[in-house]
């Protein structure tokens, strides 16, 4: 269970990097408010007027090509990795001075399994996640 997106941009990776890491630029296209401590392990949040606050944690910072963050999906436990999805950004320069942006979000099976567990369904979290990832890959291939 994952989301993959690719986007071609006519600006160089340095420019894209700043748009996806600088809180002042993030608010131009993503949340209404943002705070990001841009280093591995650094905490932050995104906030929307009509949705509230989602917490995030920086995992990997390799400017201007590679950024990974965990996106916490449980506001009651702001920095709990167990309920996080992982968002991975890869910026690749193109010959004409642009950028190919690849975005991958994973960990939805973990999130779904956590939901199930909270409702008291008897499940071994890790095994369920592995299973869902396996069957959904099989489904996609068939």
């Amino acid at each position: 269970m994952k989301i993959e997106k690719r986007l071609e941009l006519n600006v160089p990776p340095e420019r894209v990097w700043s748009a996806i890491t600088d809180p002042g630029e993030l608010v131009q296209w993503f949340p209404d408010r943002a705070e990001v401590d841009l280093r591995p392990g650094g905490n932050g949040f995104f906030e929307w007027e009509n949705h509230g606050r989602d917490y995030m944690r920086v995992v990997l910072v390799e400017p201007p090509t590679h950024l990974v963050w965990k996106w916490m999906n449980d506001n009651s436990a702001p920095y709990d990795d167990a309920v996080a999805t992982t968002v991975e950004w890869t910026l690749t320069p193109t010959p004409n001075g642009g950028t190919i942006l690849d975005l991958v979000e994973t960990g939805f099976a973990t999130q779904k399994a956590h939901e199930a567990n909270t409702r008291g369904w008897n499940s071994e979290l890790g095994e369920l996640v592995d299973y869902l990832d396996k069957v959904l890959v099989l489904e996609a291939k068939s």
Binding site: I3, L9, V16, W29, L103
Partner: protein, 102 residues
């Protein structure tokens, strides 16, 4: 959706699905040796899987043959669709932001 997820949340039932994926059309008698439980207990698990439509049984002669029906698992992909659409919107805004102000 909940029925499907509750069904696969149990390790024994996942094992049953794996068995049926490996060999289609198995009776209770075929399945029992693979599990450390009584035939009655196994039947209960199969009932849950059938109610979730993950297993379909067909009566042939004196036997009830079970096969895997992966269709409901697609619902898990459907669950993901709104998250995917949200990224489409965000990335479209990112593109407008980056390319619009040159």
């Amino acid at each position: 959706m909940d029925a499907v997820f509750a069904a696969v949340a149990d390790p024994t039932r996942r094992e049953i699905l794996d068995q049926l994926r490996a060999h289609d059309e198995q009776s209770i008698k075929d399945l029992t040796p693979h599990f450390a439980m009584t035939r009655q207990a196994l039947t209960k698990h199969l009932d849950v899987l059938e109610r979730a439509d993950l297993v379909v049984a067909e009566v042939r002669g004196r036997e009830r043959l079970h096969r895997l029906n992966p269709e409901p698992l697609q619902e898990l992909d459907a669950w993901l669709a709104p998250y995917s659409a949200a990224w489409d919107r965000r990335l479209s805004r990112l593109k407008d932001y980056l390319e619009g102000r040159q």
